[in-house]
């Protein structure tokens, strides 16, 4: 019996029709409600499983990394003391800045307006380096807006539906944004790299760069405000003969376990 006359082929054809319907819904932008409903369904089970798994994982990780944690603790304590000293100086400068602004009549620059969102679908399979949020156009989300978590840039919105939106993470090889070394106000470009890290690129070779310097957004892209922290400079990965200097960029964010983020309006 020929395959095309079998029940299997008939069911296969029906499945192709169903898939075509879903594709049409996606192209027309009508798939939002279905996506929202489907993504909500495993959330209770995911929540329970995560809350059982995470404490166990943290327990064994802590045991395994006890020595490293002790060293980090000492280094962080001294860093905190130094930052507290810096903070005293900054508070003074902030007061002087306020007084000068008032004297000169400068308008106050607006603080960022944020939309809080939950991550419906995390980057669990590390296939597309993108996550889905439960906010869409009806919450004020539009394509191109920056998304932050714990004060750090984690991506930008690439697709916004009525109720959901898709965010391309900074670790994606397709992500790039303008950046600035906050210490010396030099512009550069930050690119994602193979889902595992960030690269700071297009720095001039004769610019000195030190490990630990903060890198922030430059604000050249009108939808991504300036001074959002992206990460800290890591190791230099280019050679002196390369056209531009490249370094790794370290972000403290765990991109595989994002739960709550903010979209910057």
């Amino acid at each position: 019996m020929r395959f095309i006359y079998t029940k299997t082929f008939a069911i296969f054809s029906l499945c192709l029709v169903i898939i075509s319907i879903f594709v049409v819904l996606q192209v027309k932008g009508w798939i939002g409600p279905i996506k929202n409903a489907v993504l909500q369904s495993p959330r209770p089970v995911v929540y329970v499983v995560k809350h059982v798994t995470l404490p166990v994982k943290n327990f064994f990780t802590t045991l395994y990394q006890l020595r490293k944690i002790t060293k980090e603790n000492v280094a962080l304590s001294s860093k905190v003391i130094k930052l507290q000293q810096d903070l005293v100086g900054y508070e003074q400068e902030k007061k002087e800045n306020e007084a000068l602004r008032n004297e000169l009549g400068f308008a106050r620059s607006n603080e960022m307006s944020l939309i809080s969102c939950s991550v419906l679908a995390q980057n669990s399979f590390e296939i597309s380096d993108a996550v889905v949020l439960n906010c869409g156009t009806e919450h004020g989300v539009i394509e191109g807006q920056a998304v932050i978590s714990q004060g750090h840039l984690i991506g930008k919105v690439i697709y916004a539906n009525r109720n959901t939106s898709t965010v391309l993470l900074v670790t994606s090889s397709r992500f790039s944004t303008d950046a600035r070394l906050s210490k010396i106000s030099t512009d550069a470009v930050v690119r994602g790299s193979f889902g595992s890290g960030l690269i700071l690129d297009q720095l001039s070779q004769n610019i000195p760069v030190e490990k630990g310097w903060l890198v922030v957004t430059a604000g050249i892209n009108e939808k991504i405000p300036k001074n959002i922290i992206i990460g800290e400079v890591g190791d230099v990965v280019s050679t002196p003969n390369d056209l531009f200097k490249k370094t790794t960029l370290l972000s403290p964010i765990d991109f595989n376990n994002l739960e709550f983020v903010f979209v910057v309006k």
């Binding site: 395959f3 029940k7 299997t8 069911i11 296969f12 499945c15 192709l16 169903i18 898939i19 879903f22 594709v23 819904l25 996606q26 192209v27 798939i31 996506k35 489907v38 993504l39 369904s41 495993p42 089970v45 995911v46 929540y47 329970v48 499983v49 995560k50 798994t53 995470l54 994982k57 679908a121 995390q122 980057n123 669990s124 399979f125 590390e126 296939i127 597309s128 380096d129 993108a130 996550v131 889905v132 690439i158 697709y159 898709t166 391309l168 994606s172 090889s173 397709r174 193979f194 889902g195 595989n256 376990n257």
Partner: protein
């Protein structure tokens, strides 16, 4: 005949609905375990693909079509790919496996054949996922493209994880199949 349905018109329908409900719940739970447990410990097996493999190799029925569609839809939404990428990939992979099991593989399927089939299935799925994502991007339907280098980069790790989970998933697939069959038997006996 049941009192609810004296003419037995909806008897078959009830059985089918319950079967699909059981499969849907299983798929949701497997996805939740994949996302909630395995991603927390930084492993990335694909439990839904393994579940599909076992049902595709079942010569007696065509339930793998529903499993391919439902799993594919969930994965499309969860991995933020263009809708239809995983659905089509799983459908084609499931059909190929089913045709292999019914027409080509004469001997009883053993664990060696299973391991080879799992590796081949994973490779084919990755290629199909990349191809459909590329097609959607070229047609202007998708905003971004899946990087095939990432799929290549992760292939060995995913394969090892999938192979380690073959036996537990085989037990689960067998259990779900027996639950569905028992339920269908009970419904037939009631009517």
């Amino acid at each position: 005949m049941s009192q609810r349905d004296p003419f037995g018109v909806f008897a078959d329908q009830d059985r089918y609905n319950m079967k699909y409900l059981i499969y849907t719940l299983t798929i949701i739970i497997l996805l939740a375990i994949n996302v909630g447990f395995f991603s927390t410990i930084n492993l990335m097996p694909n439990l839904l693909l393994i579940f599909l493999i076992f049902h595709s190799l079942d010569k007696e029925n065509n339930d793998f079509f529903f499993i391919a569609l439902a799993s594919g839809l969930l994965l499309d939404f969860y991995s933020a790919t263009f809708t239809g990428t995983f659905m089509l990939s799983f459908l084609i992979v499931g059909l190929i496996l089913h045709l292999l099991a019914t027409n080509v593989i004469v001997l009883e399927i053993n664990w060696k054949i299973m391991a080879v089939l799992s590796a081949a299935t994973l490779a084919l799925t990755d290629v199909l996922v990349w191809f459909f994502s590329w097609s959607a991007f070229k047609l202007g339907w998708a905003k971004y493209l899946i990087d095939i280098s990432m799929l290549r980069h992760r292939f060995l790790v995913d394969l090892v994880c999938n192979l380690l989970l073959l036996y537990p998933m085989y037990l689960l697939a067998g259990f779900i199949k027996s639950v569905v069959e028992n339920f269908q038997l009970r419904q037939r006996n009631k009517i």
